[in-house]
Symmetry: C2
Subunit: 417 residues, 2 copies
């Protein structure tokens, strides 16, 4: 044990600033979640809902009033005392943009400050990889989206990019399909747009959307699972998104299902994604049913919709694939359950939507059988409760958090419990 | 979205009380970690170390003074102002017991209030499973340990039990090797001992010990990995132990290494533990080298120490086993890295101690190759920095937390940031 001799020799402890900021954010976030969950609560109800003291809730509420994000929704009798104010989010305070950038499209969702979606701008992009082209298309799509809302102030812009993103640095660290390394997307966008931009990736955005507006309104410990071309997860513990130390937590798609097994596009062998990503499902199907018409399909979305059709018609080959899918998916989900011990595992994405009706019951059974007893009893497998565009909604919510943290509320405030 | 009509209709939000309590605990825990890390800091240094405000640190320090856990270690000139007090833990305030109960032994470590180990009592137990016998042996060993410290008050007793434990209920939910289901161990022990008892399991205790006294003094995001007969992990994120919703997080030993592979003692197929638990290593060795003398060994500890001898003598069969072990362990650790994205993966236990010199370099290489790029760069694989009895130390630390939470510091205190 070291004994210090003076201030300068004190080593930094890892629990330092990050925790303090988290405490401040957690309190503010709890109040905002209370607003979104309940609509027009009183301060007393917010304190009851969040477990925070009335004084702390009042401080946070006053700060949100101060930046115009809250307004009064009316007053009611409090049984003899001063009438109590009901609070509401000031939807008209400004716009929040949630931007979903994928390899083949850009979607810009425009929300009011209460996170109600107002409009959406969709724009296809070519499979060209250079940052100048992609950044230019993002800027153009955002400008087109904002043309529908002349004069409205923009509080924040959240942009989801594929691959590894470092939000604090505002950098796309690695986007495999574009060959991007260390592209300073936030600076490039802010220079062109003159708007505050917050970057993240789709898994983090989806998880935030689920936390704020989906199953997270009921439970704080959940794992969201995205099933598509790639597969991945987002982890929330006690209402907080788990980012990991470089924002890469949740790379469940590249955990092992069969060590030294099938080659994955990431370069390793036997990853979960190599089996249950859509190309993996197509390879599994072709190997077992080479003569079946679906085995000749090249398009991933055609393949999935054809399998869904086949299931409706009780095609045995489609049935076989879903059983295999459930066998692999259920085991891989049980790994999440055994590691994290959450209350809910939440499936999202088009694959799960298309075949969920047939996929979920056997997957649920398999996940339960493969999870240790105490964790299996605590968890349920469900479809997402965020039906429309969770990526855009989650990015808009992150943009709002960022607005509160950097612009709206002074970070030295006394918002800690 | 629901609009409330009155207080009674407000639904509970999951972010409620647990977060508030966590905020209070996180602040107090930060101050205690500062004390253990630095020895005799000033209040100013604690504020600097923890990132908490000076006022919050003072509140917590005053409360710890109030219950006699802190004392002054001297005063020093502050450059013109009032002399600054250096603080120290009041070691003589009372005793903390850390009890490690395993299938074949009970160890009771007695610590002072500054968590320095004073004495240890070791007691073998027979492989008898009934709670009456086991509880009786625990009580007897604790009484024998306390006979060396007559008259000293006991602040808390932390008892680690094998299997699934629910600390808040004080219950052993499931202990597979004893066939225990829902045994109310806390009540049984408190009735016999007249001392406050806090239950947990060895993985949680080891992780707490690493957080307070090991690598956790430098990083808050780490995963501890125990390698022995069974294997398992403990997860810490931003300085906080991850328990999961039923205290079962970290069951990495029962995630999949090879789906539908080798039978595990848990009843499933292909678990990590089935390959790299010591019985798994013995099976792997016997299958490849059936005529080798080590293949006839029955004792797990004899097998591991023989392999270590073989490595010293450059026995090719021992070398083969370590390479295989590293291939499997490295892939399984990469799953942890890809899921959690920590700063350090910390190996503990007798297996790792015995063969670590040969095991760690190839495991490190394999773990890195199997981790996604951004996470591989951020993490290192290291041996534990808690050399002696992490289970006892961690349970004593948990007993201290429990003392502060339930007995020492009123829970309505203003310790929040």
């Amino acid at each position: 044990m070291t004994t210090v001799q003076g201030r300068s020799s004190v080593p930094p402890l890892s629990i330092g600033k990050r925790t303090t900021r988290d405490i401040r954010n957690a309190s503010r976030f709890a109040v905002l979640r209370g607003m979104y969950a309940v609509g027009t609560p009183t301060r007393q109800e917010l304190a009851q809902l969040t477990g925070l003291s009335f004084a702390t809730v009042s401080t946070i509420v006053n700060e949100l009033f101060g930046i115009g994000l809250l307004a009064e929704a009316g007053r009611e009798d409090s049984g003899g005392g001063r009438p109590r104010a009901r609070l509401k989010l000031a939807a008209e305070r400004g716009l929040l943009l949630g931007v979903d950038v994928a390899e083949t499209y850009i979607h810009v969702d425009v929300f009011d400050a209460a996170l109600h979606r107002l409009t959406r701008e969709e724009h296809p992009i070519r499979e060209r990889s250079d940052p100048t082209y992609v950044i230019g298309e993002i800027v153009g799509t955002i400008q087109a989206a904002l043309a529908n809302h002349p004069g409205a102030p923009v509080l924040g812009t959240g942009v989801s990019l594929p691959g590894q993103v470092q939000p604090e640095a505002g950098v796309s660290v690695f986007a495999p399909n574009w060959g991007w390394h260390q592209v300073p997307v936030q600076d490039l966008l802010e220079d062109r747009l003159g708007l505050p931009v917050h970057l993240d990736n789709p898994l983090k955005a989806t998880t935030v959307a689920e936390l704020w507006f989906g199953h997270g309104r009921e439970v704080g410990d959940l794992v969201t699972v995205n099933l598509g071309t790639g597969v991945g997860a987002g982890i929330a513990i006690d209402g907080q998104l788990v980012r990991g130390v470089t924002n890469n937590a949740g790379e469940w798609g590249h955990t092992t299902l069969i060590m030294d097994g099938r080659a994955c596009r990431c370069g390793r062998l036997g990853c979960v994604e190599a089996y249950i990503g859509v190309p993996g499902l197509m390879a599994t199907f072709r190997a077992e049913h080479p003569g079946h018409p679906y085995a000749r399909l090249k398009s991933q979305s055609r393949f999935v919709s054809s399998v869904a059709d086949g299931l409706r018609r009780e095609d045995p080959a489609a049935r076989w694939l879903i059983e295999r899918f459930a066998h692999e998916l259920g085991a891989a989900l049980a790994n999440l359950v055994n590691m994290i011990n959450p209350r809910r595992v939440v499936l999202s994405s088009w694959t799960a939507q298309a075949v969920g009706e047939w996929l979920i019951p056997p997957t649920r059974e398999r996940m339960r059988a493969e999870s240790i007893a105490g964790s299996a009893d605590a968890v349920v497998l469900v479809m997402t409760a965020v039906e429309d565009s969770p990526v855009g909604l989650g990015m808009a919510a992150l943009a709002l958090e960022n607005f509160l943290e950097t612009a709206g509320v002074p970070s030295g405030g006394n918002l800690r419990g």
